[in-house]
């Protein structure tokens, strides 16, 4: 069975450009999360979907970040316009239950120049 997959694995863009990251969770997992690790900092929660609904987006840094999960399957995280401080690794994770095992993807590394 495929795990959580993320695309792209690495993206390099200039400040002011737009980037869209994609996450395909494990099939059947209603819960989908986005996390981010900025260089030298802890892994931080961004938001949580249950199916197609945003359950908790308290960790989203600002309105330049937009997450969607149309149809409750894959999710996208768009950064527009990107700033230097957005550089980091963006992880996606999915689970069947909120208190169940949480499976992470390999992350999408974003570098903003």
């Amino acid at each position: 069975e495929a795990g959580v997959t993320q695309f792209p694995s690495h993206s390099v863009i200039e400040k002011g450009q737009t980037v869209t990251l994609r996450c395909d969770p494990i099939s059947g997992h209603d819960n989908l999360y986005w996390y981010r690790r900025v260089m030298g900092k802890e892994i931080k929660f961004l938001l949580h979907f249950v199916k197609e609904s945003k359950q908790d987006e308290s960790g989203m840094p600002n309105n330049r970040f937009l997450a969607e999960r149309t149809g409750g399957t894959y999710s996208t995280l768009k950064v527009q316009p990107a700033e230097l401080e957005d550089s980091g690794v963006y992880f996606c994770a999915s689970s069947q239950m909120r208190t169940g095992e949480l499976f992470f993807g390999e992350g999408s590394r974003l570098t903003v120049l």
């Binding site: 802890e42 992470f104 390999e106």
Partner: protein, 114 residues
């Protein structure tokens, strides 16, 4: 605000030795996870601990949870080189009000030397 502290942040040890990584957290929690990460790889789930006194073991790793002390430990027995990695603990808050995300510790970078 939930805070998670791991210690040590870096650990170099010899094969065959035992050691413990500690994870303290600041508020009540309903779930605690231990993850392993190899460089450039995903976070691999090791243990999920849900209740006070929970103890789980897998090979040379054993994790425990004391919710009263707000402390979890990851114990390594007779370490081998293959266990070299970064280990994270992550805690979920049950305080409500949009507390769905996990709060991660800074990670413990473990190097096991032959």
């Amino acid at each position: 605000e939930l805070k998670v502290e791991q210690n040590p942040l870096f650990l170099s040890m010899q094969e065959g030795k035992n050691y413990t990584i500690y994870c303290n957290y600041s508020t009540t929690s309903d779930r605690l996870y231990w993850y392993r990460q190899d460089p450039g790889k995903s976070l691999e789930s090791l243990f999920v601990l849900l209740s006070n006194g929970a103890v789980k073991q897998e090979g040379r790793l054993m994790a425990s949870l004391d919710t009263k002390a707000r402390l979890s430990t990851l114990h390594i027995t007779a370490a081998v080189h293959d266990l070299s990695a970064t280990y994270f603990c992550a805690v979920g808050s049950n305080s409500g009000g949009g507390a769905d995300g996990l709060t991660f510790g800074k990670g413990t970078h473990l190097i096991i030397q032959p």
